[in-house]
């Protein structure tokens, strides 16, 4: 194993309009080394991977493979120069068998070669065997389970004999055993002297596999080192967990006699073949503030989308005793279960006032005016920005608008999905204060999904921990602080199934 890096990235930058997705990222990967690139949603890790593969063109920076500068090349050139990628999802050809897919990867980029060379067939079989697909070589992708489809993607990458291998979310959607098998394949890459870049949401899944880890946040380099070093890094913990955890004294909640607003029983969700939720059991009572805590990719958004009727699921979800499966998303929202999603879904070219008015569309005129006045009191900054278009607001203001708009519907249950994502600490303070006021002045019931434990804990009556598609812990915030806090970032996956990011 020599010391000159196989993949060398410097100052990689990508802008999408006004948004800087990747800002000056740099790292080296030596032959026979595995680097893990981690970050929450919006951190820029996926974009960085696309930039290396040429799927997006960088605005600045250099990407060198074996000393050859490739930044700005077309993806097929980069592929032919020795960079391979294993996609998380791909669109297989339905009329072709697994073997034919692998053969495809072995073909040269020729316009005239009608028949593949004889060795292609033999080589394809060898590769199929290596990844464990020899039993299903002649079957069509539609008949295969998710794990085999991922193996097929692996096989296609292996076929290209790349010097550098990029792997997108290696274990998403795989069971424990399947993940082990996959890890072995990746270790095989390392043994063959290739440079491997693994991209994932969190450190835990990569800890056993990666030699080194680089953490990203909002497009920037936040920490680098071994997996343990990165997990203990202060900035990483702050960015992922929100810093020191403190619980506040919650005033009385004898809510066990209050009626249940939401009952989730044994709910599971499949995205195609990948399992995103498994046997989730959760309940929320009237007036409660329940926090579901979990890292990116654990399944929080999937859970909320199931409740909001936006995604099909197995199991039962009841609201006030009534089964809500089969109700349209809009009907569920009108029934009082309102979600403020992670992506906010604002009407960007409409003003703040117009967005809020649409939230209050179904109310009578005076009720709407009253609600609006109350919300302007809760979020004074929205009042002063009434006539501005949503697009021009800052991230924090947009989040407040999204929450306010949801509140315009006078929900019985407000679902908040990662409201703090990408926001500065100062804004978090404001949001936290608003949440406080909301709790103290209204009988609202809230279901909050957060990665930022510091934000999630102080308001909560009860806490659930969602990890890799399952609920692994349930209890009060104080107990959470005692039992879970330390190991939140460190605990190895204790459940068989890992989650897939929607």
């Amino acid at each position: 194993m020599n010391d000159t890096p196989l993949l060398s990235v410097r100052g990689l930058t990508k802008r999408f309009g006004g948004l800087v997705a990747v800002n000056g990222i740099g790292f080296d990967i030596r032959p026979g080394e595995i680097l893990g690139l981690i970050g929450p949603n919006g951190s820029g890790k996926s974009t960085a991977m696309k930039l290396i593969m040429g799927i997006e063109r960088p605005n600045a920076g250099s990407v060198k493979v074996n000393g050859v500068e490739m930044a700005g090349w077309l993806p097929h050139r980069i592929a032919r120069a020795g960079v391979g990628i294993v996609f998380q999802h791909s669109r297989p050809l339905h009329r072709q068998t697994v073997l034919e897919h692998i053969k495809l990867a072995l073909l040269p980029d020729s316009l005239v070669k009608l028949v593949a060379d004889p060795h292609v067939n033999r080589r394809a079989r060898e590769i199929a065997e290596r990844v464990g697909l020899s039993a299903v070589m002649h079957r069509h992708p539609a008949t295969l389970p998710f794990a085999d489809l991922r193996r097929m993607e692996m096989a296609k990458a292996i076929a290209r004999d790349p010097k550098v291998v990029l792997v997108d979310e290696p274990f998403a959607g795989l069971t424990q055993t399947e993940s082990q098998a996959f890890s072995d394949l990746i270790r095989g890459f390392r043994a063959e002297g290739r440079a491997v870049l693994l991209v994932d949401h969190n450190v835990k899944s990569l800890a056993a596999l990666a030699d080194r880890v680089l953490a990203m946040y909002l497009g920037e380099h936040v920490a680098e080192g071994t997996a343990e070093e990165v997990m203990r890094n202060e900035t990483v913990r702050r960015v992922y967990l929100g810093g020191k955890i403190e619980t506040r004294e919650r005033t009385v909640q004898a809510s066990s006699d209050k009626p249940s607003i939401l009952e989730i029983d044994d709910v599971g969700v499949l995205y195609g073949k990948a399992r995103a939720l498994d046997g989730v059991k959760l309940h929320v009572r009237e007036g409660e503030f329940v926090s579901v805590v979990g890292l990116n990719g654990a399944g929080k958004t999937t859970l909320f989308n199931a409740v909001s009727g936006l995604v099909p699921y197995h199991g039962t979800i009841r609201s006030a005793g009534q089964d809500i499966k089969g109700m349209s998303g809009a009907a569920i929202a009108r029934a009082g279960i309102v979600q403020c999603p992670e992506t906010r879904e604002l009407f960007s070219d409409m003003t703040v006032r117009e967005n809020l008015d649409l939230g209050g569309y179904h109310l009578a005129n005076d009720a709407r005016a009253e609600q609006l006045a109350w919300l302007f009191e809760l979020f004074p900054i929205l009042k002063s920005r009434q006539t501005q278009t949503a697009r021009t607001l800052s991230g924090g203001e947009q989040q407040m608008l999204a929450i306010a708009r949801a509140l315009m519907m006078q929900p019985r249950l407000l679902i908040l999905d990662e409201p703090t994502l990408g926001l500065a600490p100062v804004i978090l303070e404001q949001l936290s204060k608003a949440m406080d006021k909301l709790q103290k002045t209204t009988p609202i019931t809230v279901l909050l999904g957060e990665q930022n434990v510091t934000f999630a804990l102080p308001h909560a009556d009860r806490v659930y921990v969602l990890e890799h598609a399952r609920i692994v812990w349930e209890g009060s915030p104080t107990r959470f602080e005692q039992e879970m806090a330390e190991g939140f970032l460190d605990a190895p996956p204790s459940t068989p199934t890992q989650a897939v990011r929607a």
Partner: protein
Amino acid sequence: MTALLRSRVVWAAALLAILATTLPWWLSGYILGVLTVAYYFGVFAMSWDLLFGFAGEVNFGPTFLIGLGAYSAAMLNAHWSAPIPVCVIAGGVVALIGGLLLAVPALRLRGPYFGLVTLVAVLLLQNAIVIFAGLTGGEIGMMVPDVISVDANHNYWIALAFLIVCAILLFGLSRSAIGLILQASGQDTVGAQALGFNVTKHKLAAFCISAVFSGVAGAMLVFYQGTASVSTVVDLGVGVQIIIAAVLGGRRTILGAVLGSVFLIVAGEFLRPLGQINTFVVAAVALAVILFFPDGLLGNLLRVRERE
């Protein structure tokens, strides 16, 4: 499995081809004439399927390429008395050039814009033909002095032979390594690029192949009918019929396009006595197919096999 499948489809096709050869001995000249047109139509549809089903590009104006081939062959023959084979080859060449001129910039466009450009190309050609009526005969069309043959049987066999040759070439291409690359390029562009394939280059090649076959078939059709007119070879409606034929037969099957064409042309002829309403009926049937059987005839058959 696929090899087996292939031989089933291929054997069935071979059988049909042999059957088709025998038809002149027991069908009237009139029906043979209809089938002759259907066979040329079949080549139009197969070319379209190669571009759509394989390269994933929707050509809303296949009649642009067909028209180029047809009219250039017609003009060469009528104004410069070139022999038929030369005209036909020239038709193919002109269609190829036209196709390249259209495709090189058009392939850079995303989404509906590519289809839109192909649509506009047909309209532009129509207008050009009308403007230069001196050379082209304008809206009325032009007669060509030479025809392939005056005998219905001869015309039929030549059309059939042409169809079979084109089918073998196009089907063979679709099943070859290049066909595989084309499919990947059309269905998952990023994935294909990540495997090292210059997707633009391959799509352009698919467009050129489609252009050549369309142009040559268009020229052949002119020398069969003895006339070239806007309403037969440069019409948007005809273009739509080609798309329908390919979809009816089954996208991405190539051979299905032939089935679809034969059905469409024969059905259209069958319904002719109904008068104007026949186009309506054909369009209605096609719409029904799109809504209820989007995979088409052969597509459904192949799907069933896959499940086994």
